[in-house]
């Protein structure tokens, strides 16, 4: 970052530009997280909800399946990220 955001002058155009860029970045980050969460829910629901549905709540087995599903999903996120990063 070229202009230090610690300066409190909001009228400084450099600060405004930095704040705008950071907000845009934060918005993208938020969108990414929401999307990731939605995909995780969809994947783990597909894999873990026992069919036919017997009840609306999660059984103990389904709960631990969801936990493992999340952990695995994160591992895949990490591996794919590493591979994509290594490509460049």
């Amino acid at each position: 970052m070229s202009s230090p955001p610690s300066s409190n002058d909001i009228n400084d155009p450099a600060n405004q530009a930095a704040a705008g860029a950071a907000l845009a970045l934060a918005t993208t980050e938020l969108e990414y997280r929401v999307e990731l969460l939605n995909k995780m829910v969809a994947s783990c629901y597909d894999k873990c909800a026992a069919r036919p549905f017997k009840e609306g709540t999660l059984s103990v087995g389904e709960n631990s399946c969801v936990d493992r599903c999340c952990a695995k999903y994160w591992q895949v996120v990490a591996i794919v990220g590493q591979l994509l990063g290594a490509q460049k």
Binding site: A19, L23, L37, V41, A49, P52, F53
Partner: protein
Amino acid sequence: MSLNFPIESAVNEMPQDGRDMLSSTLEHMQVRDSLKMYNNLVERCFRECSEDMRSKALSSKEEQCVVKCCEKFMHVTGRVGMRFSEFFSQMEAAAQQHMAEMLKQQEQQSKS
């Protein structure tokens, strides 16, 4: 990935109309996401539960299935959300630690 930029102080320093715009953007995103989720859930439970098209009304079995499908989806959402936030807070803590270590190293290098 965590943000290095102090986003909270940036928001606090923003002029009022900027903050209004930000909160309306967030609200818009929330409405959009909940509508998206509504559509997705309808699609999912229709796909999971409708068996045939011999009648124009849902059979009681299909209806029960839709109810359970939704409830289960809510529970899975809660559980995954819990693990999700755990993961991100861990990752942010790790990133902060990493930053602190890097700063320390830089300091030591500049001293020597």
